[in-house]
């Protein structure tokens, strides 16, 4: 049971991260094509707030506060009771709302397969391609530093 829970959480974390990184335009386009549109209500209307981003030097040093980012969150509930949450960076209330709605739908088995194939996977591939392109651009100008052993 616990392992199963972990699997669900892992998958949910994956789609939430993809949705949060997605462009609002592509989410809107997907939402427009969705039929029938599920009815839902807000448990928490979209609201803008701040979150402190913390970091560690090279991932292992002492944690420090990097700075605050604007975060928008929203929670919706479908008519059948399923709850979806959306947290995004930035101030787009509509984006947070759509993430929450898609999150709720993705937890419903009937919708899950189709949405994963039509929405999440393609968006993830787009993002991966972007990341790869960016990495390639950056690594072209990469400089390696060596410290030479001084013979004393």
């Amino acid at each position: 049971m616990r392992n199963e829970d972990c699997e669900v959480n892992k998958e949910r974390r994956f789609w939430l991260s993809v949705l949060a990184r997605a462009h609002l335009r592509s989410l809107e386009a997907q939402w427009a094509t969705l039929e029938p549109k599920p009815e839902c209500r807000y448990l928490r209307t979209p609201e803008v707030g701040m979150a402190m981003v913390r970091g560690r030097i090279s991932g292992s040093g002492r944690p420090f506060n990097l700075g605050e980012v604007t975060v928008t969150r929203c929670t919706v509930q479908l008519n059948d009771g399923q709850i979806g949450c959306g947290f995004i960076q930035g101030r787009s209330k509509r984006h947070a709302e759509l993430v929450a709605k898609f999150d709720a739908l993705l937890q419903v088995i009937d919708y899950q397969k189709e949405l994963m194939e039509k929405l999440i996977q393609p968006m993830h591939r787009v993002w991966q391609a972007q990341q790869a392109r960016h990495k390639a651009e950056v690594s072209a100008t990469k400089v390696d530093f060596f410290t030479l052993l001084r013979g004393e």
């Binding site: 209500r41 807000y42 448990l43 928490r44 209307t45 609201e47 509930q77 009771g81 709850i83």
Partner: protein, 239 residues
């Protein structure tokens, strides 16, 4: 982290900033005029699904829910009585207010309870001489409407049997001479608690009585006595 039961979550304010300011203004009015009931309006305090706030009030009065949404945030500690803790109210307080719910009533800044659970068995913060404001605020939920008593005869005629209820005579800051209120569920033990609380002034707790969609405040500065009922007016005669 406990999973949230989806059937038990209620929507919160539709327009949190404006509505919590309006609710705060009403709470301020109640606190500055002890004994005057303020009413939270159904149309003004709609929830994010478009329904009025009283729709979800099962075990908790609508006014208690409005108070929670208005007064609580992540900086305060809240104690919930056993009845409240068991109800869906506790989940909603956790979800919407993000406040810390404590098990020990003495460390709480706010306490929510029903009038039957209000007794001497739990102790609450009453502030210190240096910091009298660091005391607890008790939100006590009553089932029956609390009313201001202006006209005894009219009251007795309109609600036979009600004249048996405990009637309190209030005086102090915010009250010109005296003001009388009738709280059907209060007992003599509760009256003693209120009197003991006033004795501690400037320390002591502030008390908010809620019932359905109305709120009456009894701050620590208010002196509470048993009101004298007019001669010859008893429930036997009225009923």
């Amino acid at each position: 982290m406990q999973a949230v039961d989806s059937d038990r979550l209620w929507p919160a304010f539709n327009n949190p900033v404006a509505q919590s300011q309006q609710a705060f203004r009403l709470i301020l009015k109640a606190m500055s005029e002890p004994g005057v009931p303020v009413i939270f309006d159904d149309e003004q305090f709609t929830l994010s699904n478009g329904q009025p706030f009283t729709v979800y009030s099962g075990i908790v009065a609508g006014a208690s829910y409005v108070l929670a949404l208005t007064l609580l945030d992540q900086d305060v500690k809240v104690w919930l009585s056993p009845d409240m803790e068991r109800s869906a109210f506790s989940e909603n307080v956790r979800f919407h207010c993000g406040c810390q719910i404590v098990t020990d009533s003495e460390s709480a800044d706010f306490a929510w309870m029903s009038v039957d659970e209000w007794s001497t068995s739990s102790a609450y913060k009453m502030g210190s001489n240096e910091n009298p404001h660091q005391s607890a605020t008790l939100v006590i939920q009553c089932g029956n409407v609390i009313q201001c008593v202006d006209d005894w005869q009219a009251l007795a005629a309109g609600r036979p049997g009600m004249t048996d209820a405990l009637t309190l005579k209030l005086s102090g800051p915010g009250i010109k001479h005296t003001r009388e209120i009738m709280v059907p569920e209060l007992t003599v033990a509760h009256l003693q608690l209120l009197q003991a609380n006033h004795q501690l002034y400037p320390l002591g707790k502030d008390i908010l009585l809620t019932s359905n969609n109305s709120l009456v405040a009894l701050p620590r500065s208010t002196r509470v006595e048993l009101a004298d009922k007019p001669q010859g007016l008893t429930s036997a005669q009225v009923g």
